[in-house]
């Protein structure tokens, strides 16, 4: 009798185990992200888990300043993580921390049609390691009031850096505290000076010809300051963390170039009464004879090589980077990486300022940063050397030689 009871109990136990494993397994995934994206991903996680009730996603958000440092420590315990630019992806791929997605893409027959361009640009050794969920795009912001006052037509459509220079000159006026500058430059912590080089598709200083284009771009930016059309770099040097949108709102600058994120900053400030200017945007200029392009950097999602649930983690990131999620991004004023015929219309819909908002989305965007793990250290060297050039402490030839020599010594030949 006892034996029989034991047998029955055993059978029940085994049966209950099997039935449990037949049902959908409960899975908890750890997701590392930076804090700026919390609201967006809270929403996307909510949408995803509504469809997949067996999946729980624990997102940990870290302030963006500390994110890079923290991610190094925690990436091994995460299932998925985000990164704000391609060189970061390359770094983690080098470390062996990222799962190659090609097999999963093929197996799940994921539709990548809306993000193909970016995916191609972030392949490493011909493999896909991450998917883009958002992108950015640079434009020129200009103060319409200052253009009107000077009786100059607004820049529209195609234009060149030479024309930008000329316009900046025409828009510069006044002296001392009444001075109005045609163009605004950024503080030394940023690398804004390379942007005219970016429109020549020079994005990687590890290639000599691209480095040369960066140097020409730096010289162009310095010539704007030397001509008095924008403040001297040394005046900005003590202005670390300067608020360029705030400076623009004071009405002292006619034009400046930066990414689409400034729209939100400017609109909010104007709404709050922190500035009473009328502004609009124009495409980023290009060099005479070049095709017009703009630059942008994609925000990327990755699956870690250490995850226990690669399929589910992949399923989540492909959801966040797909057509369906792009609607959520658009609704939250993000510029989604996913682009189809609806994106441009939806992006511009209901947005009253700036008038030509479509320039954000209807230009050819190339990646501002290469998917190269050595990019960040190399770019930092350029930043240090170019700052000396912009401060008039060394000429451009020396700057270029120093960059080359230091990149070789400190980056390429470093083990």
């Amino acid at each position: 009798m006892r034996k029989l009871l034991a047998l029955v109990l055993a059978v029940i136990m085994i049966a209950s185990l099997t039935s449990f494993s037949l049902g959908e397994e409960k899975v908890t995934l750890n997701f590392q992200m930076w804090s700026d994206e919390q609201e967006l991903f809270d929403k996307l996680i909510e949408l995803y888990t509504a469809e997949h009730p067996n999946v729980t996603i624990n997102m940990t958000c870290t302030p963006s300043n500390d994110y890079g440092t923290k991610l190094q420590a925690v990436v091994g315990d995460a299932d998925m993580f985000g990164i704000s630019s391609p060189p970061g992806l390359a770094e983690y791929v080098n470390k062996g921390a990222v799962l190659a997605l090609d097999d999963l893409i093929a197996e799940k027959q994921t539709d990548l049609s809306g993000i193909e361009g970016i995916v191609d640009s972030i392949k490493i050794d011909d493999k896909v390691y991450g998917l883009p969920y958002k992108t950015s795009s640079w434009v020129v912001y200009y103060n319409k009031d200052l253009f009107d006052a000077a009786g100059i037509a607004y820049p529209e459509g195609d234009w060149t850096w030479e024309e930008y220079f000329e316009l900046a000159g025409k828009l510069t006026s006044g002296e001392g505290s009444d001075k109005i500058y045609g163009s605004l430059n950024f503080q030394p912590t940023s690398m804004w000076w390379r942007v005219p080089g970016n429109t020549r598709k020079a994005t990687n200083p590890l290639n000599d010809d691209e480095l040369h284009a960066w140097m020409e771009a730096a010289a162009y930016c310095k010539s704007l300051s030397d001509a008095g059309y924008q403040p001297l770099y040394e005046d900005m040097a003590s202005d670390a963390g300067a608020d360029y949108a705030g400076n623009f709102l004071q009405g002292k600058y006619a034009m400046f170039y930066t990414g689409d994120w400034a729209i939100e900053m400017l609109n909010t400030a104007i709404r709050n009464g922190d500035g009473q200017i009328n502004y609009d945007i124009a495409p980023l200029p290009h060099w005479e004879g070049d095709e017009p392009v703009t630059v942008g950097a994609a925000g990327l999602l990755m699956v870690t090589s250490t995850t226990k649930y690669p399929e589910i983690a992949y399923d989540f990131i492909s959801f966040c980077t797909g057509a369906e999620a792009s609607k959520t991004l658009l609704a939250m004023d993000y510029f989604p990486a996913w682009q189809d015929e609806n994106t441009i219309a939806t992006y511009c819909e209901g947005k009253l300022a700036p008038e030509h908002i479509e320039y954000i989305v209807n230009q050819t965007i190339i990646s501002q940063v290469p998917c190269d793990a050595l990019y960040n250290p190399a770019a930092n060297i350029c930043k240090e050397e170019v700052s000396l050039f912009l401060l008039d402490e060394q000429d451009i030839e020396t700057t270029e030689e120093n960059c080359k020599a230091r990149i070789l010594e400190e980056v390429v030949n470093a083990k």
Binding site: K95, A97, S238, E410, A414, K415
Partner: protein, 298 residues
């Protein structure tokens, strides 16, 4: 006799045990968060660890490579210069301030608090405010222009003055702290000594030189050691004001270590640099401890 000695040592032993017991919480922390990481860093410095999987033994390659790294050499030079300037000056000013604060003046306690404030203020805030003070058209240069200087320094936007700017801020920040420590030392000096000096006909300066300074020497020594160690490790003020720039003009060792590890992911290399920094601090501290026998009065 033998009996007595034995009982003393038994007593000492039990006392030692008690002491150890009380020290334990701190000791565990020290072992876990200082001693272990130091040994671990020593091991890492012999590898090419990238913070994740790759970790091959490279022997002393990192140490050799460091000395041919121009950025490392520059940061080492800057650190030495920074230490040589800030340590003596912040202590000298600290002594002057302590003497002032030791006077029985109305409202002196308010000043003691004010001078100590920089020490408890966030370095980021200090950096921001000083950046404004040192700006090209900032208040400091306005004063210099008013005094007839037609070409005032560009401070943190020139390689020539950037390190000096950082040093000024650093001295300004730490002298109040030194002053408070030195003030405690001053107040511990027996008034009888001054009285005796006075009877011997010493004037104020002589009694400062022959009574105050010798009696204050243990406190000065303490300030010297702690100040020097923190000078070698300077980091926050650099991040807050110059990020090592312009160019590499204010790149210091700790900033170099930070950049190589957390920006470039070369933890092996960075650990080697950190170890060289550790060795330098140790040598300097050892020299000071040896030297103290000559000038410190206990």
């Amino acid at each position: 006799m033998m009996q007595r000695k034995k009982s003393t040592s038994a007593y000492m032993r039990s006392q030692r045990k008690t002491a150890l017991f009380f020290l334990l919480p701190n000791l565990i922390g020290f072992l876990l968060f200082v001693v272990y990481p130091v040994f671990r860093a020593a091991l890492i410095s012999l590898t090419n660890w990238n913070g994740f999987k790759q970790m091959d033994f490279v022997g002393f390659y990192n140490y050799g490579a460091l000395f041919s790294d121009s950025t490392f050499r520059i940061s080492l030079n800057n650190t030495l210069l920074y230490t040589i300037v800030t340590v003596p000056l912040s202590i000298a000013f600290g002594i002057l301030m302590a003497l002032l604060m030791n006077m029985k003046l109305p409202g002196i306690k308010v000043f003691r608090t004010i001078y100590f404030l920089p020490q408890i203020t966030s370095m980021i805030a200090i950096g921001l405010v000083w950046s404004l003070v040192l700006a090209k058209y900032g208040p400091l240069n306005q004063i210099l222009i008013a005094l007839g200087n037609t070409n005032p320094p560009k401070w943190i936007s020139s390689t020539k003055y950037a390190l000096t700017s950082v040093e000024i801020v650093s001295i300004w920040r730490s002298m109040g702290y030194n002053a408070i420590i030195l003030l405690a030392g001053l107040q511990g000096i027996d008034a009888v000594l001054y009285e005796a000096a006075k009877l011997d006909g010493a004037n104020a300066f002589q009694s400062f030189l022959h009574v105050t300074i010798p009696m204050l020497s243990p406190t000065i020594f303490f300030c010297l050691v702690t100040q020097m160690i923190s000078s070698f490790k300077v980091f926050d003020i650099i991040i807050a004001m110059t990020q090592g720039g312009p160019g590499r003009a204010t790149n210091v060792l700790a900033y170099f270590v930070y950049n190589k590890s957390f920006v470039d992911s070369r933890f092996g290399y960075a650990s080697a640099a950190a170890f060289i920094m550790f060795a330098i601090i140790m040598v300097f501290t050892a020299i000071q401890f040896r030297g103290q026998k000559k000038w410190v009065n206990y």
